[in-house]
Amino acid sequence: MDVKLILDLAVYALVGVTALSTVRVAIGPTPEDRLIGLNLAASQVLAILVLLAVRQKQAVYLDVALVYAILGYVGILAIARHLEKEEGS
């Protein structure tokens, strides 16, 4: 059983699933729905980056994945805080 083939299949499946989850970002009725879609897409992109790192045997992808996780967390926090301020004023 070829390891690279399995990893490729998983990466293709996750790319399709991420494209599916951006539909909610596009059609979400409220800003929170868009945030939910964004959170889901960010977690799947994180999984894709880790799979690529294991497939290519390069640790650079893992650094990118760590920074992406941190920036996604801080970004969603900042967007939620910004919406809250806009609501309160």
């Binding site: 990893l7 699933v17 929170e32 977690s43 994180l46 880790v50 969603i76 926090l77 939620a80």
Partner: protein, 100 residues
């Protein structure tokens, strides 16, 4: 070991597909948040377990464990922030319409 890793990868892809269908199909913000939070955490953790099993004991797998711990910390916090913001804004939970 490769078969176990392939099983975990298939589990991760399955949870991703199920979570996306939940986010697309559920009627309400809170139910969508439920589907999104659970399925994103299980997807990421099972795929990371598969990667660690494929990689063995090396520098790559150590970093993968660190990223998994960080994701396990921040995923529920993000879901809680989104849900709390929606609750503060006054979004009411969905109820099944029932004949009185």
């Amino acid at each position: 070991m490769t078969w176990v890793a392939a099983g975990f990868l298939a589990l991760g892809v399955f949870f991703g597909v199920v979570g996306n269908f939940g986010v697309l199909r559920f009627p309400d913000l809170y139910t969508r948040l439920h589907a999104s939070a659970k399925c994103s955490t299980t997807t990421v953790v099972s795929i990371f377990i598969a990667c660690v099993l494929l990689e063995g004991f090396s520098a790559l797998s150590g970093r993968i464990v660190v990223i998994a711990l960080f994701f396990l910390l921040t995923g529920p916090v993000t879901a809680h922030i989104i849900g709390r913001r929606a609750w503060m804004r006054g979004v009411l939970p969905w109820r099944r319409r029932r004949a009185l």
